[in-house]
């Protein structure tokens, strides 16, 4: 998976879980987004795992702070 594909996928997942459109190039951070609470975080992880086929560790899940963290995490496990 190439980085632009991963970025698109992450954006789609965030958009579906946070229930709002997210523009390309927009960074989304947990601490700045009131709707990205711990329940949504788990739903996001479930969705990312389903779409990428990756299984994240507990440390990786708790370490995600923003959309870029997810892109790096997926790229690291799923890079070209």
């Amino acid at each position: 998976m190439h980085k632009p594909d991963i970025e698109t996928l992450v954006r789609e997942c965030l958009s579906q879980v946070l229930k709002r459109p997210i523009q390309a190039g927009t960074a989304v951070a947990r601490e700045d987004d009131g709707s990205w609470d711990s329940l949504r975080h788990v739903e996001l992880v479930f969705l990312l795992e389903e779409r990428t086929g990756i299984r994240f560790t507990q440390e990786e899940i708790t370490g995600i702070r923003d959309s870029q963290d997810i892109v790096h995490l997926v790229a690291g496990k799923h890079g070209p």
């Binding site: 479930f46 969705l47 560790t57 899940i61």
Partner: protein, 560 residues
Amino acid sequence: MVAALEKAEWQSVLFAPRPSRYRLGFLQAAWPLNTIRIQVHRNHPFEFVAGLVPAFAAYTDLGVEFSYSEYDDALNFSGHREADVEILWLDYDRYAKFLATDELLAWLFGRLAHLRERSQGRILVCNWASTHPAADRFNRQLNTRLAGIADALVCDQAGLMSGLGDDYFDDRNIALAGSALSHAACMETARMFGLSWLPAAVYPRLKAIVVDLDHTLYAGVAEEDGIARLRLESGHIELQRQLSTLRDSGVLLAICSRNNPRTVDKLFRQRRDFPLGLEHFSAIAASRSSKVKGLRNIAGTLSIGMDAILFIDDNPAELAEVAAAFPGIHTLLAGTGPVATHEVLPRYPRLHQWQAHREDTLRSADMLANRERRRLRNEIPDSGSYLEALGMKLTFHLDPRHLRGRLHELSVKTNQFNTTMLRLSEHDITSRLADPDCFTIAVELGDRLSESGVIAALFARKENATLVVDEICISCRALGREIEAVILLESLQKMMHLSATDTAIIKLTRGPKNAPAVACLEAVFRPDGQQDSDHGEYSCGAQQLLNIPTCHCVTIRWEN
């Protein structure tokens, strides 16, 4: 697009072996939904499940509105709001650290009794899904004892756990969100709530499944491929077995096929490898004419409404045509592959059965006996002689607490002979049974051809010197045997005697389907037809009752 076709497209997502969270997110119902309010009483998060329920529920025409208690181990029910369904979603492992199983059960049932008093809604109690050694015994006790609480039902979460095995738990989320449920467990639970448990809590069970033959019960076309060359694959065998099991549980089966009737007859005589035989079907419509016509005939033969029928066919155009003609009918697109019909049917909405009644096992045999009754009726033109030949017996039960479930079923499922459509809950009926001013009667029917079980329910109460009959329901299976008036008059006489009342008022609400009930009341109480058509009740004096002519070809017995 016709909702039936849109729903057929949804099948590949909703009934997939492992539904996709991503694809589920795109399903938006374009048809109207009946929104129900669901209150969740919990000590661990339900949101992961609730977020996935709407698409499944929408397939059954249900909208869902969840509200949540605090995380409350004590089940205080503080901030309780009126709801159609109450869900108890408890992590029982938390209690097992402090309470023995019997103590936990005693505490839980105390809380359930309290909730029962406060709520009119159905209570769904999720059982203990855990590897804890006490879980099995707890769940068995829960099943047994919950039958004693009206409108309280068990959701078999432990069954989902055993189906998913190790995939049920995911410990990674405990620290983050306080939930040990995996994605798969949340999805399966949501699917059960959306497709099975919630529809079964708020809708009556479907009464009949009508199946197409070619490419539905087997692979191939009987009149093109030849009967011997039709392929019965493992999925078809499984489907036919499932249909047979559903029949045993009270769902009537029927065939609607464009095959020639002789072909259909030959097919079932020749193919002894089919788990289903012609004797399993209560009605058969086989002709070149449209399936709309066939289904109309079947509904007429079975005396049921289209909204109580599931029609299974492999041709989307047939489904669309039928759904356009009968907007209430339920449809399922037959198919093979990962979402094959036999994978879908066990999860299909409104086939889930919370509890079996004796009548469920009698229904199919009773319908078969109807064929014999029709034959007799044709042979014996005189109505009195025909009824005498049937040798009918009616057994009346006064305030029968043990029949609470069946009384509820009659109140919610009958349409043609239902005088007020009160749709009484088990809770309502329990309250009536406990009230000395209320009278509740259940009536069993049998004749020399079959036992029909409890086919009628009457709910009345004493109001000053008057007996008010709030609802009379008679199963459509019992109609046409001229016993409606007998049931009515015998019950009224008994209740007026017991209540020492001299007048009876029979309430009536006209509905789209209850013309047979209206016609019976008119015939009994207004034989000269002098009344206006809009009145909401009939009244009758005790003496007047004795003068109303009725059928004498019925043996009557009272119990209790």
